[in-house]
């Protein structure tokens, strides 16, 4: 009986967790010659954002942000998407792990 209860509990959590609540906004960031464009993006605090990162360089890049708790590899001449938010107000830095000298950016949550 306990096993059945825990299965139902997990099924409930999984089911509930898959409901998208906040509306999603799409934002695209480009990587060109080891830089992010735009490098600064403002979003409202109650918004979930689908961030699509297009890598226009021939070499791979990794979008890395401890502030956002996100890491994703973008192959050369390819793109990848991640979801962030809703986030509390503040600044959230990100960088390109393979070219951190130039690939720097931030998300400003207002």
């Amino acid at each position: 009986m306990k096993s059945v209860s825990i299965y139902f509990f997990f099924t409930f959590i999984i089911g509930m967790s898959q409901h998208t609540s906040a509306a999603t906004t799409d934002i695209t960031i480009k990587i060109e010659k080891g830089h992010f464009f735009p490098s600064s993006i403002a979003i409202p605090s109650d918004t979930k954002v689908k961030l699509t990162i297009e890598n226009h360089d021939d070499t791979p890049e990794e979008f890395d942000s401890h502030d956002l708790n996100r890491e994703v590899l973008i192959k050369g001449n390819s793109k990848a998407s991640i979801y962030i938010g809703p986030l509390p107000k503040g600044r959230y830095a990100f960088e390109g792990e393979f070219s951190p000298e130039t690939a720097q950016g931030e998300i400003i949550v207002k």
Binding site: I6, S17, Q18, T20, E97
Partner: protein, 255 residues
């Protein structure tokens, strides 16, 4: 950078060699000293050399300390599948023994951050060196959520031995974690590991194996594509049949 690779591998080998003769192992618990907490997230292209160490001190001081270690290689095949193969060592008295080979596969079932909870599934297959134990399988759902700098994990796991004559049975357990992501090199939190008993026949509360305690985590970047990732916890047994305390450490070299 090749020198760095060599130095790290040498360090792993020396660490394993130093730790092995000093530790003793006996299979008394469902939990293993080098158990660790799984995250549902998968990073494509990630390559890692993964080492784990653990030591369990039993409640009864006359019993042997239980220790184990493993070393493996893991790879993020794509954005939803991470696979890792590793060898496990254990200790019986003063003799170090190769214990098992294990193949871990983790599947990220939802896109990172798309839903309030990220969902993954784990399948881990182990071939113990002792063939009487048959094969061990561990599988279950992995959940992760976050709010601001807080991260929450909850995993439901099933573990069983199959096709053998010893240690038969299928067990149900869970892992939980709350982590505060203070800064990249230092994060801290609390972890809990528990085995509730047989899948269809849970043990009474004091017979379940549950260990809870503080943990630290971090990632130290070594270069553009290299980093050391660590997590360590000190767990206190909360029931009569749990280890008195457990020290566990995981070190990954990502490249």
């Amino acid at each position: 950078m090749k020198k760095l690779h060599f130095s790290f591998l040498k360090w792993v080998a020396v660490s394993a060699a130093l730790i092995s003769p000093q530790l003793m192992y006996a299979a008394q618990y469902i939990s293993e000293p080098s158990d660790y907490l799984y995250s549902p997230r998968v990073e494509e292209g990630e390559r890692e050399i993964d080492t784990k160490f653990g030591m369990q001190n039993p409640k009864n001081s006359q019993d042997n300390k239980l220790s184990g270690a493993s070393i493996g290689f893991g790879y993020g095949v794509n954005s939803w599948w991470f696979t890792e193969i590793y060898g496990k060592n254990s200790w019986d008295g003063n003799t170090s023994e190769f214990d098992a080979i294990e193949w871990e596969n983790k599947f990220q079932l939802t896109e990172t951050g798309k839903y309030p909870v990220d969902l993954g599934f784990l399948i881990e297959l182990e071939r113990p060196q002792n063939r009487a134990e048959g094969y061990e399988a561990k599988y279950g759902f992995l959940l992760q959520s976050e709010w601001a700098k807080w991260q929450f994990n909850l995993n439901l796991l099933i573990k069983g031995h199959y096709l053998g004559t010893e240690n038969q049975g299928t067990y149900l357990g869970y892992q939980g974690q709350v982590k505060y992501r203070y800064q990249p090199t230092l994060e801290f939190g609390v972890q809990a590991y528990s085995w509730l008993g047989q899948l269809n026949n849970w043990d009474p509360n004091q017979q379940q194996e549950t260990s809870v305690g503080p943990a630290v985590f971090g990632k130290i970047k070594l270069g553009k594509k290299e980093a050391i990732v660590y997590n360590m916890s000190y767990l206190f047994g909360t029931t009569a049949t749990s280890p008195n305390n457990t020290i566990r450490l995981q070190l990954e070299y990502e490249f």
